[in-house]
Amino acid sequence: MTEKAIEVTDLTIAYKDKPVLWDVDMSVPVGTLMAIVGPNGAGKTTLIKSILGLIKPAAGQVLVLGKPYTQQRHLVGYVPQRGSVDWDFPTSVLDVVMMGRYGALGWLKRPGGAERAAALDALDKVGIRHLADRQISQLSGGQQQRVFLARALVQGAQLYFMDEPFQGVDATTERAIVTLLQELRSAGKTVVVVHHDLQTVPEYFDWVTMLNVRRIASGPVNEVFTEENLRQTYGGKVAFLSAAGNGKNGKQ
């Protein structure tokens, strides 16, 4: 039996007894590039964080490649939102990327030549090797995003989670990132992205999970990204969405 990359069952998360995620089931096969979409407050970031063990669920269970996350950390790479960090911190691009290896290094050991090489390699893959010694406060939004991406790549994971990586990023960077993600997918990795731009879902992703506290739908984009589901996910605001929904339907 082939393992699912992610298996979420009955996940319920509450904040001060108000449901943020309710009874969510999700099953993601290995080697997929999946978007998670939904309105603000729908629980998208919460879903990712709970899979990563950063938030405790009120009910339900999460399995990553068949086992609980705590046993699979070394197989998972995480790219949080850019705004979650103080970019004025005195450190260089290379340094941040090397932090991705800290998990593998474990306690007390210092990063050395091998970690440095891996970090430079990752920077290469995202196209900013020349910025390795740059202070992070001097980076543009797109460059910052690439740094985070490189840091996740360096973890050598099988499964990647990204929170709104395209938010506030220039077009070139966006295209570069998408290409990279598709390469990862082709290499057999699974990539899960919290995405904010419905227009690009059919173009970038093969799978989509539509969330609004409950799971509205989850599956291949061409099956699941329908106007009806969009309506259910986004409530009343459908007018501009029909283009996005029809986009995929039209392609069928």
């Binding site: 964080k49 979650s84 960090v85 932090m99 800290y102 998990g103 202070q135």
Partner: protein
Amino acid sequence: MDISQLLSDLFFDYTLRTVALGALILGMVSGMLGAFAVLRKQSLLGDAISHAALPGIVLAFLLTRQREPVVLILGALIAGWLATLFMIAVTRTTRIKNDTALGLVLSVFFGMGLMLLTFAQRLPDATQAGLDKFLFGQAATLLQSDVITMGIIGALALGLLVVFWKEFKLITFDPEFAASLGFPVRGLDVLLTTLLVIAIVIGLQTVGVVLMSAMIVAPAAAARQWTDRLSLMILLGGLFGAVAGVSGTLISSTAERLPTGPVIVLCISVIVLFSMLFATNRGLVWNWLRSKQNRRKLRARAVLADLNTLAMQHPHEAHGHSVAVLRTMSANPDGVSYALKQLRERGHAYEVSTDVWALTDEGLAQASRNQKEETE
């Protein structure tokens, strides 16, 4: 004051040497650990904790009837700890904000300490004489044993800093990412805060409660101006702190009635001021000079363009134009003379007759190059 005399005193005068050593340790430890407080936006935590330590010190004395620095430091540590926990609890469970929690803890704990201190003073065995040293810091009364205690505890704290270096760096920069990697962020947070409390507590004897916050914030703030690397920032912070400590001690020893604590704080404040003005790249003075330079460059360019415009309007290109005309064309009439001088230096313009200027061939060429650039 004779410098060589001063320096020899430093080595041979027991009191001076002891105090200077204590100040050096204080400066170094708080300078290094303070960097993390500053980076975690907890600059005033030093202020709050140093005030909050007082009741701990007094209670430790009251309970054990001992003035041993280790005992008192332990009391201070526990009080500082409780204060931190209280602040975290309050901000997490109510709408009280951070700054209010800080001020609350600072004043209330200190008030309690005061109450206990005066209470202790009335007790029959009034051997608490040493307790108010912690309030104002009487560096001059530091004993060698005090300094040795400071040194050992300080070394321990710094040792832990080195050992957990990458973990501390990680949780300060990106605690969420750290958690996803499996690091116990809360535990590390607790450890780091403990080290900070230790740094504060061992410095209280030297500079006192009010001024301790400066020793946490200032060295790190100064260090930040000079470098963009965390490791260097920490080392510089330690260096600045140590320098301030020693020089403060020396300076205050040269005159009467110059209390050591405040002088040390002034020294570090001077270092901060200097760093903010003159540090490479970020220094305010360099920034100001650089923007002045830029402005001059732009002005010269504008005057060149004006000369070019005038030249175009007059078929005889060697026809000069008066400075007065240039001034009326310029947004910044006062800078025109200087701009013209710059242009002359570069060979772009020359003075046809007094106060009458024209473009050289090179100047014409440059002007048309500039124009092309601007329209691209």
